[in-house]
Protein backbone atom coordinates (compact mmCIF):
# COMPACT_ATOMS: atom_id res chain seq x y z
CA UNK A 1 0.00 0.00 0.00
CA UNK A 2 1.33 3.42 -0.89
CA UNK A 3 2.40 5.81 1.78
CA UNK A 4 0.07 8.55 0.59
CA UNK A 5 -2.90 6.27 1.25
CA UNK A 6 -1.83 5.87 4.83
CA UNK A 7 -1.24 9.58 5.13
CA UNK A 8 -4.72 10.25 3.86
CA UNK A 9 -6.52 7.56 5.84
CA UNK A 10 -4.21 7.37 8.84
CA UNK A 11 -6.14 9.76 11.09
CA UNK A 12 -9.43 8.07 10.16
CA UNK A 13 -8.06 4.62 10.97
CA UNK A 14 -6.56 5.90 14.19
CA UNK A 15 -9.92 7.33 15.23
CA UNK A 16 -11.52 4.00 14.36
CA UNK A 17 -8.98 2.20 16.50
CA UNK A 18 -9.72 4.56 19.38
CA UNK A 19 -13.44 3.81 19.11
CA UNK A 20 -12.76 0.06 18.94
CA UNK A 21 -10.69 0.22 22.13
CA UNK A 22 -13.26 2.47 23.80
CA UNK A 23 -16.13 0.14 22.88
CA UNK A 24 -14.19 -2.86 24.09
CA UNK A 25 -13.13 -1.33 27.43
CA UNK A 26 -16.47 0.32 28.18
CA UNK A 27 -18.40 -2.71 26.98
CA UNK A 28 -16.30 -5.06 29.12
CA UNK A 29 -16.56 -2.93 32.26
CA UNK A 30 -20.30 -2.31 31.88
CA UNK A 31 -21.22 -5.89 31.02
CA UNK A 32 -19.01 -7.21 33.81
CA UNK A 33 -20.74 -4.87 36.28
CA UNK A 34 -24.19 -5.89 35.03
CA UNK A 35 -23.15 -9.55 35.09
CA UNK A 36 -22.00 -9.22 38.70
CA UNK A 37 -25.29 -7.61 39.68
CA UNK A 38 -27.22 -10.40 37.96
CA UNK A 39 -25.14 -13.07 39.71
CA UNK A 40 -25.64 -11.39 43.10
CA UNK A 41 -29.38 -10.94 42.48
CA UNK A 42 -29.63 -14.61 41.57
CA UNK A 43 -27.86 -15.60 44.76
CA UNK A 44 -29.61 -13.29 47.19
CA UNK A 45 -32.81 -12.26 45.41
CA UNK A 46 -36.26 -13.85 45.65
CA UNK A 47 -37.05 -16.93 43.63
CA UNK A 48 -39.19 -15.18 40.97
CA UNK A 49 -36.31 -12.82 40.23
CA UNK A 50 -34.01 -15.80 39.87
CA UNK A 51 -36.33 -17.33 37.25
CA UNK A 52 -36.62 -14.04 35.42
CA UNK A 53 -32.85 -13.64 35.27
CA UNK A 54 -32.46 -17.28 34.21
CA UNK A 55 -34.78 -16.56 31.26
CA UNK A 56 -32.82 -13.39 30.41
CA UNK A 57 -29.57 -15.37 30.42
CA UNK A 58 -30.99 -18.12 28.19
CA UNK A 59 -32.52 -15.67 25.70
CA UNK A 60 -29.40 -13.53 25.32
CA UNK A 61 -27.10 -16.53 25.11
CA UNK A 62 -29.36 -18.25 22.59
CA UNK A 63 -29.52 -15.43 20.06
CA UNK A 64 -26.79 -13.96 17.82
CA UNK A 65 -25.25 -10.63 18.80
CA UNK A 66 -26.03 -9.24 15.35
CA UNK A 67 -29.76 -9.91 15.74
CA UNK A 68 -29.73 -8.34 19.22
CA UNK A 69 -28.14 -5.24 17.73
CA UNK A 70 -30.76 -5.12 14.98
CA UNK A 71 -33.57 -5.38 17.52
CA UNK A 72 -32.01 -2.60 19.57
CA UNK A 73 -30.94 -0.24 16.79
CA UNK A 74 -33.65 -0.70 14.18
CA UNK A 75 -36.46 -1.98 16.41
CA UNK A 76 -35.80 0.32 19.36
CA UNK A 77 -37.25 3.50 17.79
CA UNK A 78 -40.63 1.74 17.44
CA UNK A 79 -40.93 1.59 21.21
CA UNK A 80 -39.38 5.02 21.73
CA UNK A 81 -35.77 3.92 22.28
CA UNK A 82 -34.01 6.18 19.78
CA UNK A 83 -30.23 5.83 20.09
CA UNK A 84 -27.26 6.83 17.95
CA UNK A 85 -25.08 4.06 16.61
CA UNK A 86 -22.38 4.33 19.26
CA UNK A 87 -24.63 4.35 22.37
CA UNK A 88 -26.74 1.60 20.81
CA UNK A 89 -23.59 -0.42 20.18
CA UNK A 90 -22.39 0.07 23.75
CA UNK A 91 -25.78 -0.86 25.18
CA UNK A 92 -25.81 -3.88 22.87
CA UNK A 93 -22.36 -5.00 24.01
CA UNK A 94 -23.37 -4.57 27.66
CA UNK A 95 -26.54 -6.61 27.24
CA UNK A 96 -24.78 -9.23 25.14
CA UNK A 97 -21.86 -9.72 27.54
CA UNK A 98 -23.75 -9.59 30.85
CA UNK A 99 -25.19 -13.15 30.90
CA UNK A 100 -21.81 -14.70 30.12
CA UNK A 101 -20.21 -12.68 32.90
CA UNK A 102 -23.11 -13.56 35.22
CA UNK A 103 -22.49 -17.25 34.62
CA UNK A 104 -18.76 -16.80 35.21
CA UNK A 105 -19.42 -15.03 38.51
CA UNK A 106 -21.98 -17.65 39.50
CA UNK A 107 -19.48 -20.45 39.04
CA UNK A 108 -16.91 -18.32 40.86
CA UNK A 109 -19.30 -18.03 43.83
CA UNK A 110 -19.79 -21.78 43.66
CA UNK A 111 -16.05 -22.31 44.00
CA UNK A 112 -15.89 -20.45 47.31
CA UNK A 113 -15.75 -23.05 50.12
CA UNK A 114 -19.02 -22.92 52.00
CA UNK A 115 -17.23 -23.18 55.33
CA UNK A 116 -15.70 -19.75 54.81
CA UNK A 117 -19.12 -18.13 54.49
CA UNK A 118 -20.46 -20.09 57.46
CA UNK A 119 -17.46 -19.15 59.56
CA UNK A 120 -17.96 -15.48 58.68
CA UNK A 121 -21.63 -15.72 59.66
CA UNK A 122 -20.71 -17.50 62.86
CA UNK A 123 -18.41 -14.69 63.99
CA UNK A 124 -21.20 -12.22 63.22
CA UNK A 125 -19.97 -10.42 60.11
CA UNK A 126 -22.97 -8.74 58.44
CA UNK A 127 -24.01 -10.18 55.08
CA UNK A 128 -22.93 -7.18 52.92
CA UNK A 129 -19.45 -7.34 54.45
CA UNK A 130 -19.31 -11.08 53.82
CA UNK A 131 -20.03 -10.44 50.14
CA UNK A 132 -17.50 -7.62 49.89
CA UNK A 133 -14.66 -9.06 51.94
CA UNK A 134 -14.97 -12.84 51.66
CA UNK A 135 -17.23 -13.97 48.82
CA UNK A 136 -16.08 -11.53 46.11
CA UNK A 137 -12.30 -11.66 46.63
CA UNK A 138 -12.28 -15.46 46.69
CA UNK A 139 -14.69 -15.78 43.77
CA UNK A 140 -12.75 -13.26 41.68
CA UNK A 141 -9.51 -15.21 41.97
CA UNK A 142 -11.07 -18.45 40.78
CA UNK A 143 -13.11 -16.70 38.08
CA UNK A 144 -10.20 -14.65 36.71
CA UNK A 145 -9.15 -16.97 33.84
CA UNK A 146 -12.74 -17.13 32.57
CA UNK A 147 -13.18 -13.35 32.96
CA UNK A 148 -10.02 -12.67 30.94
CA UNK A 149 -11.10 -15.20 28.35
CA UNK A 150 -14.49 -13.63 27.81
CA UNK A 151 -13.02 -10.12 27.70
CA UNK A 152 -10.86 -11.34 24.82
CA UNK A 153 -13.93 -12.72 23.06
CA UNK A 154 -15.54 -9.28 23.43
CA UNK A 155 -12.66 -7.60 21.52
CA UNK A 156 -13.63 -9.71 18.53
CA UNK A 157 -17.33 -8.96 18.91
CA UNK A 158 -16.68 -5.21 18.58
CA UNK A 159 -16.23 -5.59 14.79
CA UNK A 160 -19.89 -6.60 14.54
CA UNK A 161 -20.76 -3.05 15.65
CA UNK A 162 -19.54 -1.88 12.23
CA UNK A 163 -22.69 -3.44 10.72
CA UNK A 164 -24.88 -0.95 12.58
CA UNK A 165 -22.48 1.81 11.42
CA UNK A 166 -20.56 2.42 14.64
CA UNK A 167 -17.46 4.14 13.21
CA UNK A 168 -14.92 1.74 14.74
CA UNK A 169 -11.86 0.28 13.07
CA UNK A 170 -13.63 -2.26 10.87
CA UNK A 171 -16.10 0.35 9.62
CA UNK A 172 -13.30 2.78 8.78
CA UNK A 173 -11.30 0.03 7.08
CA UNK A 174 -14.27 -0.88 4.90
CA UNK A 175 -14.76 2.76 4.03
CA UNK A 176 -11.13 3.08 3.09
CA UNK A 177 -11.20 -0.06 0.96
CA UNK A 178 -14.28 1.00 -0.97
CA UNK A 179 -12.62 4.32 -1.73
CA UNK A 180 -9.21 2.89 -2.68
CA UNK A 181 -10.36 -0.49 -4.08
CA UNK A 182 -7.75 -2.23 -1.92
CA UNK A 183 -10.13 -4.71 -0.31
CA UNK A 184 -7.76 -7.61 0.17
CA UNK A 185 -4.85 -5.62 1.60
CA UNK A 186 -7.10 -3.65 3.95
CA UNK A 187 -8.77 -6.76 5.34
CA UNK A 188 -5.47 -8.58 5.59
CA UNK A 189 -3.97 -5.76 7.65
CA UNK A 190 -7.11 -5.68 9.77
CA UNK A 191 -6.81 -9.43 10.42
CA UNK A 192 -3.15 -9.09 11.39
CA UNK A 193 -4.03 -6.19 13.66
CA UNK A 194 -6.70 -8.13 15.53
CA UNK A 195 -4.48 -11.15 15.76
CA UNK A 196 -1.79 -9.03 17.38
CA UNK A 197 -4.30 -7.36 19.71
CA UNK A 198 -5.82 -10.63 20.89
CA UNK A 199 -2.40 -12.26 21.37
CA UNK A 200 -1.20 -9.25 23.39
CA UNK A 201 -4.28 -9.18 25.59
CA UNK A 202 -4.13 -12.91 26.25
CA UNK A 203 -0.41 -12.67 27.17
CA UNK A 204 -1.23 -9.84 29.59
CA UNK A 205 -4.18 -11.85 30.92
CA UNK A 206 -1.99 -14.88 31.60
CA UNK A 207 0.53 -12.70 33.42
CA UNK A 208 -2.27 -11.20 35.52
CA UNK A 209 -3.56 -14.69 36.34
CA UNK A 210 -0.11 -15.84 37.39
CA UNK A 211 0.22 -12.79 39.63
CA UNK A 212 -3.17 -13.08 41.28
CA UNK A 213 -2.94 -16.83 41.91
CA UNK A 214 0.70 -16.93 43.00
CA UNK A 215 -0.24 -17.56 46.64
CA UNK A 216 -2.00 -20.73 45.49
CA UNK A 217 1.02 -21.90 43.49
CA UNK A 218 3.28 -21.51 46.51
CA UNK A 219 0.80 -22.79 49.05
Amino acid sequence: MELSVLQQYGPMLLRGFGITVFCWLAGTVLSMALGLMIALAQRYGPRWLNWLLRAYIEVIRGTPFLVQLFVLYYGGPLVGLRLDALPAGLLGLTVYGSPYFAEIFRSGFGAVPHGQIEAARAVGIPEPSIVRRILLPLALVSALPALVNFSIILTKETVILSIITVPELMYQTQRMSTETFRYLEANFVLALFFWGLVETISRLGRRLEARVTRHIERG
Binding site: V67, Q68, F70, V71, Y74, E157, Y183, N187, G196
Partner: protein, 215 residues
Amino acid sequence: MFSIQTFLDAFVPLAWAARYTLLVSCLGIALGLVIGVVVCAMRLSGSRLARGIGALWVSFLRGVPLLVQLLLMFYLLPVIGIDVPPLVAAVVTVGICASAYISEIWRGAIGALPGGQTEAAQAIGMGPATIWRRIILPQAVVMSLPALVNELILLVKASSLVSVVGILELTRASQAQAATTFRPLEVYLAAACIYLAINLCLAALGRWLEHRMAI
Protein backbone atom coordinates in the same frame (compact mmCIF):
# COMPACT_ATOMS: atom_id res chain seq x y z
CA MET B 1 -46.94 0.06 18.57
CA PHE B 2 -46.01 -3.58 18.63
CA SER B 3 -48.07 -5.51 16.10
CA ILE B 4 -48.65 -9.15 17.04
CA GLN B 5 -49.92 -9.88 13.55
CA THR B 6 -46.70 -8.75 11.83
CA PHE B 7 -44.69 -10.66 14.43
CA LEU B 8 -46.57 -13.89 13.73
CA ASP B 9 -46.64 -13.38 9.96
CA ALA B 10 -42.87 -13.06 9.90
CA PHE B 11 -42.35 -16.57 11.27
CA VAL B 12 -43.15 -18.59 8.14
CA PRO B 13 -40.75 -16.91 5.68
CA LEU B 14 -38.07 -16.60 8.32
CA ALA B 15 -38.30 -20.22 9.42
CA TRP B 16 -37.97 -21.18 5.77
CA ALA B 17 -34.83 -19.06 5.44
CA ALA B 18 -33.47 -20.65 8.61
CA ARG B 19 -32.69 -23.78 6.59
CA TYR B 20 -29.64 -21.94 5.28
CA THR B 21 -28.65 -21.07 8.82
CA LEU B 22 -28.81 -24.78 9.66
CA LEU B 23 -27.03 -25.70 6.43
CA VAL B 24 -24.15 -23.29 7.03
CA SER B 25 -23.72 -24.30 10.67
CA CYS B 26 -24.04 -28.07 10.09
CA LEU B 27 -21.73 -28.14 7.06
CA GLY B 28 -19.44 -25.74 8.90
CA ILE B 29 -19.13 -28.05 11.89
CA ALA B 30 -18.71 -31.10 9.64
CA LEU B 31 -15.84 -29.42 7.83
CA GLY B 32 -14.48 -28.18 11.15
CA LEU B 33 -14.47 -31.75 12.49
CA VAL B 34 -12.44 -33.00 9.51
CA ILE B 35 -9.89 -30.16 9.53
CA GLY B 36 -9.92 -30.21 13.34
CA VAL B 37 -8.64 -33.82 13.42
CA VAL B 38 -5.74 -32.89 11.15
CA VAL B 39 -4.86 -29.77 13.15
CA CYS B 40 -5.13 -31.66 16.42
CA ALA B 41 -2.89 -34.46 15.10
CA MET B 42 -0.38 -31.84 13.96
CA ARG B 43 -0.33 -30.18 17.37
CA LEU B 44 0.26 -33.51 19.11
CA SER B 45 2.78 -34.83 16.57
CA GLY B 46 6.50 -35.28 17.15
CA SER B 47 7.53 -32.89 14.37
CA ARG B 48 8.30 -29.41 15.58
CA LEU B 49 7.31 -27.89 12.21
CA ALA B 50 3.87 -29.54 12.29
CA ARG B 51 3.35 -28.41 15.89
CA GLY B 52 4.31 -24.86 14.93
CA ILE B 53 1.96 -24.74 11.96
CA GLY B 54 -0.87 -26.19 14.05
CA ALA B 55 -0.31 -23.65 16.81
CA LEU B 56 -0.19 -20.79 14.30
CA TRP B 57 -3.42 -22.02 12.66
CA VAL B 58 -5.27 -22.10 15.97
CA SER B 59 -3.87 -18.80 17.19
CA PHE B 60 -4.69 -16.92 13.97
CA LEU B 61 -8.22 -18.27 13.60
CA ARG B 62 -9.05 -17.67 17.24
CA GLY B 63 -7.46 -14.22 17.23
CA VAL B 64 -9.22 -12.79 14.19
CA PRO B 65 -12.95 -11.97 14.25
CA LEU B 66 -15.05 -14.24 12.03
CA LEU B 67 -16.41 -11.22 10.18
CA VAL B 68 -12.88 -10.22 9.14
CA GLN B 69 -12.14 -13.82 8.16
CA LEU B 70 -15.25 -13.91 5.98
CA LEU B 71 -14.37 -10.69 4.15
CA LEU B 72 -10.73 -11.79 3.81
CA MET B 73 -11.83 -15.05 2.22
CA PHE B 74 -14.28 -13.32 -0.12
CA TYR B 75 -11.65 -10.91 -1.40
CA LEU B 76 -8.87 -13.50 -1.42
CA LEU B 77 -10.60 -16.18 -3.50
CA PRO B 78 -10.98 -14.14 -6.74
CA VAL B 79 -7.38 -12.93 -6.46
CA ILE B 80 -5.99 -16.47 -6.35
CA GLY B 81 -8.34 -17.45 -9.17
CA ILE B 82 -10.86 -19.62 -7.34
CA ASP B 83 -14.42 -19.02 -8.48
CA VAL B 84 -16.97 -20.65 -6.16
CA PRO B 85 -20.53 -19.71 -5.17
CA PRO B 86 -20.73 -17.44 -2.10
CA LEU B 87 -22.46 -20.16 -0.09
CA VAL B 88 -19.49 -22.51 -0.57
CA ALA B 89 -17.01 -19.79 0.39
CA ALA B 90 -19.08 -18.97 3.50
CA VAL B 91 -19.30 -22.62 4.59
CA VAL B 92 -15.56 -23.11 4.05
CA THR B 93 -14.73 -20.00 6.11
CA VAL B 94 -17.04 -21.02 8.95
CA GLY B 95 -15.60 -24.55 8.83
CA ILE B 96 -12.01 -23.33 8.92
CA CYS B 97 -12.81 -21.04 11.83
CA ALA B 98 -14.57 -23.89 13.68
CA SER B 99 -11.62 -26.23 13.07
CA ALA B 100 -9.43 -24.13 15.38
CA TYR B 101 -11.89 -24.43 18.26
CA ILE B 102 -12.67 -28.10 17.57
CA SER B 103 -9.00 -29.06 17.47
CA GLU B 104 -8.64 -27.53 20.92
CA ILE B 105 -11.67 -29.45 22.19
CA TRP B 106 -10.15 -32.66 20.92
CA ARG B 107 -6.73 -31.87 22.27
CA GLY B 108 -8.39 -31.55 25.67
CA ALA B 109 -10.32 -34.80 25.25
CA ILE B 110 -7.22 -36.69 24.12
CA GLY B 111 -5.25 -35.25 27.02
CA ALA B 112 -7.88 -36.71 29.35
CA LEU B 113 -7.41 -40.24 27.94
CA PRO B 114 -5.28 -42.50 30.11
CA GLY B 115 -1.75 -42.63 28.60
CA GLY B 116 -1.54 -46.36 29.27
CA GLN B 117 -3.95 -47.03 26.40
CA THR B 118 -1.61 -45.66 23.76
CA GLU B 119 1.31 -47.47 25.35
CA ALA B 120 -0.63 -50.73 25.42
CA ALA B 121 -1.55 -50.28 21.75
CA GLN B 122 2.09 -49.60 20.90
CA ALA B 123 3.14 -52.65 22.90
CA ILE B 124 0.94 -54.98 20.85
CA GLY B 125 2.44 -53.50 17.70
CA MET B 126 -0.13 -51.02 16.37
CA GLY B 127 1.17 -48.27 14.12
CA PRO B 128 0.43 -44.57 14.88
CA ALA B 129 -2.32 -44.38 12.25
CA THR B 130 -4.09 -47.46 13.63
CA ILE B 131 -3.76 -46.16 17.19
CA TRP B 132 -5.42 -42.90 16.17
CA ARG B 133 -8.17 -44.60 14.21
CA ARG B 134 -9.01 -47.41 16.63
CA ILE B 135 -7.98 -46.24 20.10
CA ILE B 136 -7.72 -42.47 20.40
CA LEU B 137 -10.37 -41.03 18.09
CA PRO B 138 -13.35 -43.26 19.01
CA GLN B 139 -12.96 -42.40 22.68
CA ALA B 140 -12.09 -38.75 22.14
CA VAL B 141 -15.08 -38.20 19.86
CA VAL B 142 -17.52 -39.74 22.33
CA MET B 143 -16.01 -37.84 25.23
CA SER B 144 -16.10 -34.50 23.42
CA LEU B 145 -19.69 -34.79 22.15
CA PRO B 146 -21.22 -32.33 24.67
CA ALA B 147 -18.49 -29.78 23.89
CA LEU B 148 -19.10 -30.26 20.16
CA VAL B 149 -22.82 -29.61 20.58
CA ASN B 150 -21.85 -26.42 22.40
CA GLU B 151 -19.65 -25.48 19.45
CA LEU B 152 -22.59 -26.11 17.11
CA ILE B 153 -24.69 -23.65 19.14
CA LEU B 154 -21.92 -21.06 18.77
CA LEU B 155 -21.85 -21.71 15.02
CA VAL B 156 -25.61 -21.25 14.66
CA LYS B 157 -25.14 -17.80 16.19
CA ALA B 158 -21.98 -17.08 14.22
CA SER B 159 -23.75 -18.02 10.98
CA SER B 160 -25.73 -14.79 11.29
CA LEU B 161 -22.53 -13.05 10.13
CA VAL B 162 -22.58 -14.72 6.71
CA SER B 163 -25.57 -12.45 5.99
CA VAL B 164 -22.97 -9.70 5.50
CA VAL B 165 -21.57 -11.45 2.43
CA GLY B 166 -25.03 -11.91 0.97
CA ILE B 167 -26.13 -15.42 1.96
CA LEU B 168 -29.90 -15.36 2.33
CA GLU B 169 -30.05 -17.07 5.73
CA LEU B 170 -32.20 -16.18 8.71
CA THR B 171 -30.62 -12.81 9.50
CA ARG B 172 -30.44 -11.66 5.87
CA ALA B 173 -34.02 -12.78 5.29
CA SER B 174 -35.19 -10.82 8.32
CA GLN B 175 -33.37 -7.73 7.04
CA ALA B 176 -35.25 -8.05 3.76
CA GLN B 177 -38.51 -8.68 5.59
CA ALA B 178 -37.95 -5.68 7.86
CA ALA B 179 -37.26 -3.50 4.84
CA THR B 180 -40.46 -4.49 3.06
CA THR B 181 -42.80 -4.37 6.07
CA PHE B 182 -41.23 -1.33 7.79
CA ARG B 183 -41.60 -3.24 11.07
CA PRO B 184 -38.03 -4.03 12.14
CA LEU B 185 -38.86 -4.66 15.80
CA GLU B 186 -41.40 -7.42 15.16
CA VAL B 187 -39.38 -9.05 12.41
CA TYR B 188 -36.06 -9.10 14.27
CA LEU B 189 -37.77 -10.36 17.42
CA ALA B 190 -39.29 -13.18 15.36
CA ALA B 191 -35.80 -13.97 14.03
CA ALA B 192 -34.47 -13.98 17.58
CA CYS B 193 -37.22 -16.41 18.60
CA ILE B 194 -36.25 -18.81 15.81
CA TYR B 195 -32.58 -18.67 16.77
CA LEU B 196 -33.54 -19.24 20.38
CA ALA B 197 -35.74 -22.23 19.48
CA ILE B 198 -32.91 -23.84 17.47
CA ASN B 199 -30.39 -23.27 20.24
CA LEU B 200 -32.65 -24.44 23.06
CA CYS B 201 -33.19 -27.71 21.15
CA LEU B 202 -29.43 -28.07 20.67
CA ALA B 203 -28.79 -27.28 24.34
CA ALA B 204 -31.30 -29.98 25.33
CA LEU B 205 -29.47 -32.41 23.04
CA GLY B 206 -26.19 -31.46 24.69
CA ARG B 207 -27.60 -32.05 28.18
CA TRP B 208 -29.00 -35.40 27.10
CA LEU B 209 -25.61 -36.46 25.70
CA GLU B 210 -23.85 -35.31 28.85
CA HIS B 211 -26.34 -37.24 30.97
CA ARG B 212 -25.83 -40.41 28.92
CA MET B 213 -22.08 -40.10 29.16
CA ALA B 214 -22.20 -39.68 32.91
CA ILE B 215 -23.74 -43.14 33.36
